[in-house]
């Protein structure tokens, strides 16, 4: 096996995996706190991709051309807007269902994703959209025509993904806010009795999850350059798979699951068959869950008799 080809496929897998991981964190956080699969999360990411393009276009209109400034401002814009969207969705579509059975919010979430998808299609048109390439440059290893490479943008994705996960993990484990989150997660009623405004905590978690989707939206959009109103669904399903693979509810698990899934897809497509790469990815998921029914880093559910 060619070392450079293998190296390139691993880089490909890491980049793809990091994008899955970034989105998966949003799934995992929401699941962790209220135990629901937020199917609309992928669409929130899709909205942030559009915001990226709109933000860049508006900033360019005002004559800003420094790429890092552009990215920074767009990121801020996307994060603020997307978190607001996340909180609003939670308030309108999920909070009324707090006490309903577990499946009601799931259906509501499917409804929300239909709404978002079609709203964006109606307002922005069905066509493919794109953003210009802002960051160029690539790091290559090897000789002139025998090398493997990673672009600067890809490096940014991997670094930001890991950083975001680490910061979030720190927040959850070591701050008062994180304690409130964990308390709400373990026993919402008890947390409420102890003076935690659980509604606020839950809204906050939705906001943070959406903010991460915004980060993912900006970076992924800049990296691949094109998107349409359908990307949320395609990436969303994969990211959700990644979250479950890593153990849903666990932040490092989401990242690990994402990277594992990305690597699996990329290596299988690269060395076996890209036709069956998704079959392989799902088979891997099934295989791992058979032997670790709670995912790689999830806490096993103890059957207490």
């Amino acid at each position: 096996m060619d070392f450079y080809v293998l190296g390139q496929q691993i880089v490909n897998g890491l980049v793809l995996g990091s994008t899955y991981g970034l989105i998966a964190v949003g799934y995992t956080m929401v699941y962790g706190i209220i135990g629901m699969i937020n199917f609309a999360h992928g669409e929130v990411y899709m909205v942030s991709a559009y915001l990226t393009a709109i933000g860049l276009a508006v900033l360019a209109y005002f004559g800003i051309s420094n790429p890092w400034l552009l990215i920074g401002l767009t990121m801020v814009f996307a994060i603020v807007f997307t978190s607001l969207l996340g909180v609003t969705i939670e308030r309108l579509a999920y909070r009324p269902l707090r006490r309903a059975n577990r499946l009601a919010p799931l259906i509501s979430a499917i409804g929300v994703s239909l709404i978002l998808q079609n709203y964006v299609q109606l307002s922005q048109g069905a066509k493919n959209q794109g953003v210009p390439t802002l960051v160029e440059g690539v790091f290559r290893m090897g000789s002139e025509d025998h090398f493997f490479q990673i672009t600067y943008m890809q490096m940014v994705i991997i670094i930001v993904a890991i950083l975001a996960m680490a910061i979030l993990n720190f927040v959850v484990q070591h701050t008062a806010l994180g304690r409130a989150c964990r308390a709400t997660q373990q026993d919402r009623q008890m947390a409420q009795i102890l003076g935690i405004d659980t509604d606020k905590v839950i809204a906050l978690v939705f906001g943070i999850g959406a903010a991460l989707a915004a980060v993912a939206g900006v970076l992924i959009t800049l990296n691949y350059g094109s998107f349409d109103f359908f990307v949320g669904f395609v990436t969303g399903v994969k990211a959700f798979t990644a979250a479950v693979l890593g153990g849903i509810g666990s932040l490092p698990g989401a990242m690990l699951g994402g990277i594992l899934l990305g690597l699996a897809e990329s290596l299988f497509a690269g060395f076996v068959s890209s036709d069956y790469k998704d079959v392989f990815a799902f088979a891997l998921l099934v295989g791992i869950l058979i032997f670790r029914p709670s995912g790689l880093l999830g806490k096993p559910t103890v059957e207490k008799v």
Binding site: L84, G111, V112, L114, N118, V244, V279, A283
Partner: protein, 413 residues
């Protein structure tokens, strides 16, 4: 009935409108055009104005109209009708619905067939999700197994429609077992994602295995026949044309009418069977398993077998639905079995009310007929559909119809 003060309502409406304005501002107001954009500031203002008005009207309505009002439990009640009355009622209903074929246009017949297929799918998934409490997001896989079972069975083995129905049920049931086995130890949402994965695997294999399934081009499925009568202008399966036997003029609607009638009967039978299941030992065991697996084991119930049987039963109903889908479409291709279909069927089960067979029927009719009725609204169709899903869930979190538990009268009283 208490009314909230108007001034507060006004304030809340304004707040809602403001949020709407912020949220729709960039997406509706700035339209991407290449790497550039054009402005359309009227759009977000219009949307915000609409939200303002709607929110204000909603605020003026008595609070109790809007609040979700659903008791947690519905008390079981002694049945009001005797068995023979129910059977008679069912027959009358069947005849009434069957007579639709005389009036409905071919288009509405086709829509009716799709609606009934979704009723069947909903009933099948209801066994898995509603009764046994196993969240299955890959139900469409069994639907695909049934549809392809019929189409490929005809192509390779020369199977006919009537042989395909039981065989597809069996085949899909087997697939259900195969899927059920690895997920036995998984709970809740892990189960959901694994079943989703299974559904996708089935679809992807159907799409990629060119040599066997025809890949994306799909396979032709034969039109059903009835004791050698064919409902086509020219016979292709060695039978006699139905319209010639009866001296009728050929109409392309005959095939649909026939499928509709058979399907209606199958749905009726399934409906009867599934509603019987609730009061039968196996149905009770499924529900008990949903409630508490550990208690079930302590009572000597084989949880492995019980779970597998739920998967198998649900899957075989899905498989039968698949046969009808293939027969009515005349051909099958993998695009028809995407995850979205699974989500739709799940929505039918949950909107209808978990475990409620009549709710499933209502929800299936609602979810399949509404997009057709909304076709006039073309572009806004799916948007309205999405809003309806969210609103119904908020309005009735336990589903449109909450099923009563079966009532058991003391013997001799």
């Amino acid at each position: 009935m208490s009314r909230r003060p108007v001034s507060r309502t006004m304030l809340l409406s304004l707040f809602a409108a403001l949020i709407t304005l912020i949220l729709t501002g960039p997406l509706s107001g700035l339209v991407l055009n290449g790497y550039d954009f054009t402005t359309r500031f009227a759009a977000p203002l219009q949307i915000a104005a609409m939200v303002l008005i709607l929110r204000f009207i909603a605020g003026l309505l008595p609070a109790s109209w809007l609040a979700p009002k659903q008791k947690h439990e519905v008390e079981p009640r002694a049945p009001r009708f005797k068995t023979y009355q129910l059977v008679l009622g069912g027959l009358v209903l069947y005849l009434a619905l069957a007579s639709l074929v005389l009036f409905a246009s071919k288009y509405w017949l086709a829509v009716g067939i799709m609606a009934l297929i979704y009723v069947l799918l909903g009933l099948g998934l209801n066994v898995v999700v509603g009764f046994a409490g196993l969240l299955d997001l890959g139900f469409v896989g069994f639907y695909a197994v049934g549809a392809y079972g019929y189409a490929l069975g005809h192509q390779y083995l020369g199977l006919g429609f009537w042989a395909a129905i039981p065989l597809a049920a069996l085949l899909a049931g087997m697939f259900g077992m195969i899927l059920g086995f690895p997920v036995l130890r998984m709970h809740g949402d892990y189960l959901a994602i694994v079943t989703l994965g299974f559904g996708e695997i089935i679809r992807l294999v159907l799409n990629n295995w060119m040599a066997f399934t025809g890949g994306p081009n799909g396979v032709d499925a034969p039109a059903p026949t009835f004791f050698g009568w064919e409902f086509k202008a020219n016979v292709t399966q060695g039978g006699v044309p139905f319209h010639e036997v009866w001296g009728l003029e050929y109409s392309s609607g005959m095939l649909d009418a026939f499928i509709f009638l058979v399907l209606l009967a199958v749905v009726g039978l399934t409906l009867y069977a599934v509603s019987r299941l609730r009061g039968m030992p196996i149905g009770r065991a499924w529900e008990a398993l949903r409630e508490d697996e550990i208690a079930c084991r302590s009572l000597g119930l084989n949880h492995v077998w019980t779970k597998l049987s739920a998967f198998a039963m649900g899957a075989s109903i899905g498989g039968v639905a698949g046969v009808f889908f293939a027969a009515s479409q005349g051909f099958v291709s993998p695009i028809s079995f995407s995850f979205f279909e699974s989500a739709l069927v799940l929505a039918i089960v949950v909107l209808g009310g978990l475990g409620s067979v009549y709710g499933v029927i209502l929800a299936a009719l609602f979810l399949t007929l509404m997009p057709e009725v909304l076709r006039e609204f073309a572009d806004y169709r799916i948007l309205i559909f999405g809003f309806a899903m969210v609103l119904i869930m908020i309005w009735r979190p336990r589903g449109i119809i909450q099923q009563r538990r079966p009532f058991f009268k003391r013997a001799g009283s």
